[in-house]
Symmetry: C2
Subunit: 179 residues, 2 copies
């Protein structure tokens, strides 16, 4: 475990490391590999332009699916909501402790939705608003334009919706007392 502050790979302020953040040495080899199945088109060209919270965004974004997978869309049009997995290809993968700017304290990477994580796969639940060929119009994303798409899944409320779930450290940060 080396200090993140002295990490020599820091290169830019958007994707670099902040004071108080800590990195771990990465494994020597990868274990599995991914195909990009398409790209996500959004209005946001730089990280600073992205919405702070996907729920706050009502922008319609477009999933451009590789035509190779066109047949795999059958019945997707019957879903009101989808789970999207996508690849945050510009993120660091070695951070174990991060300091959210709006919180100011160290949090473990697995207690955060930050794109910086060992496998920078983001998960978002989106509302499906239309399909034209291999283009899907969705609402609820906050990622950069051109982000690689990894997967599309139907959202099942029966297993995926837990309305009373709590993230204690985040609620406490907002002054809400939890366990």
């Amino acid at each position: 475990m080396r200090s993140a502050v002295s990490d020599p790979v820091v290169s830019d302020k958007d994707f670099g490391i902040w004071e108080g953040e800590v990195a771990a040495p990465l494994p020597e080899r990868f274990d599995a590999s991914l195909y990009y199945i398409g790209r996500i088109r959004t209005p946001w060209k730089e990280r600073k332009d992205c919405p702070k919270n996907a729920r706050g965004s009502q922008e319609i974004c477009t999933l451009e699916l590789d035509p190779r997978w066109a047949e795999a869309l059958r019945n997707v049009e019957t879903c009101t909501h989808l789970v999207l997995l996508y690849w945050m290809d510009r993120s660091r993968r070695d951070l174990v402790l991060q300091v959210p700017r709006t919180y100011g304290k160290q949090c473990g990477t697995f207690s955060l939705r930050s794109p910086a994580r060992p496998n920078p796969i983001a998960m978002s639940v989106v509302k499906l608003v239309g399909i034209e060929g291999t283009g899907l119009k969705v609402v609820g994303l906050d990622c950069l334009d051109g982000t690689p798409l990894l997967d599309i899944k139907p959202y099942f409320a029966s297993t995926d919706a837990i309305p009373d779930a709590q993230v204690g450290w985040h609620a406490d940060r907002n002054g809400i007392k939890t366990r």
Copy 2:
């Protein structure tokens, strides 16, 4: 696009192809790579033993996290529920149309939660019931023992819970009329 029925790579009935299923040629190269961050310990050694529906399972399973990532667990204990991403490493990646056995009709891969998909990343929402060191006890999984773990995320009800979401083809299958 070739017919799946004549696909020569079919090798076993658990992970092979079924009548009516269709495969697409896979891309020639991969685009990104993954680290396994741990393993999931469950009671199920073979696919036939796995629960049909994760909601139906109250078994406690254990996430065995690689100690390299131990610090990344800070604050995870304050979460009631987690999003897990894991790698269905025994699944076909070329199916575009599949025939769920309980449905009997062709469905597009992206309208299904089947492990067979271009990137066989499963997503499950689980209840966190305890943490001991780098072992996390969770409820809500239905995967095979030894499944590679890819990511742990906090579940935020504000963005992840959509209780009224519908999967039309699935509801219709159960006799519920939807759009």
